[in-house]
Subunit: 291 residues, 3 copies
């Protein structure tokens, strides 16, 4: 799957349901579109292997994220797992088995897994992760690269890599975890083999809410719909502005970026449509609050 953009490539030439269909043919992934071509679901789909990811799976994720980068139709992405788990990360049976310590090969193998979190943060679509079961390694990294996380009570998370004699800081976990569950919990699970269970994930703020296992998909669907209530540009600039702050933007520069983005988004015709819809819904009592 190439990530090049041919000259004739026009993302509007076919609907997302067709464009992303080819990733459905990849073993271990289910990919489909909902909400009138606006929400892309990506589901890890090797439940007999705890949804471990093969090399083909990583390649497909790169392909999907490369397409999402300039996709002007898909507005929200939902990331989930088939069966009882989300993903247990790398399938070691699919990993490079070349003998000997060839550091260059090891480096590029690792980059294939470790650069995906950057791509998740760079696409303009907010990502919702539906977390459940034991999640480790790259599976955990991608769940945490999302913007919002919903869990079921079976969730527990751990580094995974440190069990193999490596560091606990693996595939962006060292950057993501402190932002999501604080420094103490991060240090505890990355410096030991311990697990952070659903309750501590909730208490530390890592997940927004915990719902019964059979409601997890529904809750993700509801969150995606709620995101579609915003204007498309409003959604995009919100994710981009939060990224800038996560990367260390000063208060002053964050305010300036917000100011210009508000005028940029607000002067787009869609904003007026949203605004009118809001006023009508308020008048009809369809939204709970007059604010």
């Amino acid at each position: 799957m190439s990530s090049e953009y041919p000259d004739e490539w026009d993302p509007l030439s076919e609907p997302p349901s067709k464009r992303y269909a080819k990733f459905n043919e990849v073993e271990g992934l289910k990919v489909w579109v909902e909400e009138d071509e606006k929400v892309l679901w990506i589901r890890f789909n090797r439940p007999h292997r705890l949804n471990a990811i093969t090399q083909a799976g990583y390649n497909a994720l790169h392909g999907i994220l490369d397409m999402l980068l300039l996709d002007r139709q898909i507005r929200v992405v939902v990331l989930s797992g088939e069966g009882k788990g989300f993903s247990s990360g790398l399938d070691f049976d699919s990993a490079n088995k070349a003998p000997g310590p060839d550091h260059k090969t090891l480096f590029f193998n690792q980059r294939k897994y470790s650069l995906l979190p950057l791509k998740f943060r760079t696409i303009p679509q907010p990502v919702i992760s539906l977390m459940k079961g034991k999640i480790v390694g790259s599976g955990l990294a991608y769940a945490l690269s999302a913007d919002v996380r919903i869990a079921d009570p079976t969730l527990s998370i751990s580094s995974g890599a440190n069990r193999m004699g490596l560091g606990g800081t693996d595939i962006a976990l060292g950057w993501l975890l402190p932002r999501l569950c604080g420094w103490s919990a991060t240090s505890e699970i990355l410096l030991t083999f311990r697990w952070l269970d659903a309750e501590r994930c909730l208490r530390s703020g890592l997940v927004s809410t915990i719902v019964p296992a059979d409601k997890l998909d529904d809750e993700g669907r509801k969150m995606a719909k709620d995101m579609l209530e915003l204007s498309h540009l409003g959604l995009i600039v919100t994710k981009m502005n939060l990224n800038a702050v996560a990367e260390g933007a000063s208060m002053r520069s964050a305010i300036t970026a917000e100011d210009t983005a508000q005028i940029f988004a607000g002067s787009n015709p869609e904003a007026a449509v949203i605004n009118e819809r809001l006023k009508r819904n308020v008048q009809k009592g369809r939204v709970g609050s007059k604010i």
Copy 2:
């Protein structure tokens, strides 16, 4: 209200209760001084409009904060709202209604609202926000620009701007919220129209405590008095040093700033007075701990 400093301006020439009195004449604001001219109360006061802020109100806030910047008498500021709410942000009836997408006008309108959080963070006085009811937009931004927040059980917060087709990251919210309630909750409420209620504000650490609605002012008064226990310079350098860390100071530079500030504050005569008072109170059993 001018923010210029005339050559003859001497902040000590009249007491704060007189200096800030003119802001009481502004529609929608109540401003008064307590604790022997040391604590300034600012109260949004248009309860029939959920304390929405008019252009005159924003202008007055700029004027107040400009005066506080070099005010050597006021040591603590309390920010609150009349009636059942704190503030619902911009009163749209007072906003610029010039037709057409004049981006320059929109930009300077927005700057009037968005630069106030920077001024709240720059004044030497710690600010205590008394949060209640539904708070959105610039109202929320100013509540979060405070150093400490106390809430009553009616509190719930949301961006507001995204309901109008704009981004959720508005008036410094994208910089303030992640620091106060973490990334997951921030992303959830800025990427949807959802509300963060009092319980989640407490759990995430955004507010220090929740007290019954009829105790909110008392609790703010108590917190202000507790701050007056510190030496004046001690209070100032604490806020300034925390600002530097919030803006990304390294551990090494933060320590150096603390070290010099401690000697600066400690060699001021007031420090010895505080220290003596502490010793007397310990001897008389007036403070709970010998530490």
Copy 3:
């Protein structure tokens, strides 16, 4: 105690139990080694003075941390207090009593206390703090400089310095506290004389868990053993990578540092040993999870 490294200094020439024995002779400190020379325990030991630290104690801490910096045998450090408290910080009876405001003397006195947190963060060994009782000042600073914290129910923390007319931001507290318990709680306790009790320390994520007072040492011992399960290099790179993120590393640079560290740690023979042990333990059912 010199922190110089003589040319002939070879950290392997004698076991840690002998090398660190001299610090046991310092009044107010107990220092010993556990787990086959791999875990160093440092215990504040002046319970009749709430484990306040004398000048000799600070000097010894500098000496210990200087030795740990290049110590290739000690893998984990446990920091604790004798009796009912951890440490109440500086023993003022031991502080410089030179009359008059000699700022240079004050500065270097302060540096002796304030540079230790940097050394705690720079040594390659993760540090576990066992927190209890009322902890203030440099005692609090060192407890918070650890990687992981366990508490008993008697814990409560406060700045201490602000009680003496100084700022609340003291000895790295302004840098450490916001990372560990969030901005609201930090501002509240540094801008007042208030205490953060064990329950709020747990809720805010500052401590990992609260255990009964008589189980605190056991829990620290268990955590240290859990850390020894990782490969030695895995442990080191995890602490170092988390430090880089705490100091503001971008997501991209954090990932690059992780990638190279994983190959560095993974190609060390110890990693293969750990990996084999893991596989055997999984087969024998000795570890709870197949992941």
